[in-house]
Symmetry: C2
Subunit: 226 residues, 2 copies
């Protein structure tokens, strides 16, 4: 993964990372406007950057047709994701930060350039497979361990029962809410009832009953019992 030919600016890295993230969740070709919104910038700025990254062969881009990462671009994105998630593990496991406090700091640390550092950090942390939110950590070659099958809580049926394996990162408020209701990775939950008119869920968790809005449910992932 140490394909550190010409090193990228933080801005370039952030674009690469955002394109990767959008490719994972949305279609495989990313529109300029979508990317502009994700980057909190203007479409014209995005167009400029897409040209530059195309020149560097990190993505394919055709006017008016959106963009997609090349294998080289994807490899860089994965190395940034890897660093981000490893640093999050460090912050939570070693420095006792809460899972709601680490995203912003990891956004800075993910740009530190040293594959040796990343690999030693990984070893120091005991080769974790997931970050504090349950997101998988790719290895130095950009490969994910075959992960447990995780399903979105919102897509489960009444009676579904399983273990919380992941929660969405990026919103401290959401994670603080999870702290308040004492939901953690590993919590056992069961869907008691789905309320069809607003999409909310009645959940049993560790002998308590909680109601989740649809929005909350879409941000939680569980592994169903066999």
């Amino acid at each position: 993964m140490q394909s550190e030919k010409r090193q990228l600016s933080q801005s370039e890295e952030n674009y690469i990372k955002a394109i990767y993230a959008l490719s994972e969740t949305c279609e495989d070709t990313i529109s300029t406007n979508l990317l502009a919104e994700r980057m909190s910038t203007k479409a014209s700025s995005v167009t400029d950057m897409l040209k530059k990254l195309t020149d560097k062969e990190l993505l394919t881009y055709q006017k008016y047709q959106g963009c997609a990462l090349t294998p080289k671009g994807r490899a860089i994105a994965l190395s940034i994701v890897r660093k981000h998630r490893l640093w999050e593990v460090f912050l939570v496991d070693k420095l006792q930060f809460g899972w709601d406090e680490v995203h912003e700091i990891a956004e800075q640390l993910e740009h530190i350039q040293s594959s040796q550092l990343t690999n030693r950090l990984e070893a120091f942390l005991g080769y974790p497979k997931v970050d504090p939110h349950g997101d998988p950590i790719p290895n130095d070659e950009g490969v994910f361990d075959t992960p447990a099958v995780r399903v979105n809580l919102a897509s489960c049926e009444t009676g579904a029962k399983g273990i919380v394996m992941g929660v969405e990162d990026g919103s401290p408020e959401f994670l603080q809410y999870l702290n308040k209701i004492d939901l953690k990775l590993g919590s056992e939950i069961e869907i008691l009832e789905k309320l069809s008119f607003d999409g909310s869920l009645l959940i049993a968790m560790e002998k308590r009953t909680i109601q989740f809005s649809h929005v909350v449910a879409t941000r939680i992932f569980i592994q169903l019992y066999a």
Copy 2:
């Protein structure tokens, strides 16, 4: 110390740090050319930056008269030095890097913005007082623990005997040389002879005899036995 009003660019931070370092070793007003050489840049670029940092009240500067840090600028310099040295301890103590390998990585890590991170890192490391090269680590208020009195080896007389308390950081080659001769912080050394014609020293260290050039001697600091 968390005077994070408007945060500075990495470039601005690097200037502040360089001015601080030069103030410690040289006179108290730093010339444009000296700073340009230290920053590996041109005098005209330095002039521009000095104006900007003066506007931000981080240094005092008068045309043709050099510059000096204000208390505010000094506080920022100390917070960068603090971060640099704490990260160096982390890299050596926790990730098993050699003292010759950490400077460059710490140069990146020192720009991470989060006083909470710095303070937790410090606690995690057990409140170290010095970095792997023996340089003191200021506390969150920018205050150094009253350090042991360290003298430069080159300024010691024949017969002087003491413990190595510090070596100059910044040149990996020099530190690798020290590795080769097995000199560490804590090594006991004695000056057997000073050769006046070239300034070199004959040294006894742990039952061995070694010759140090004057340049090497100026980069080593010892605490003399009482």
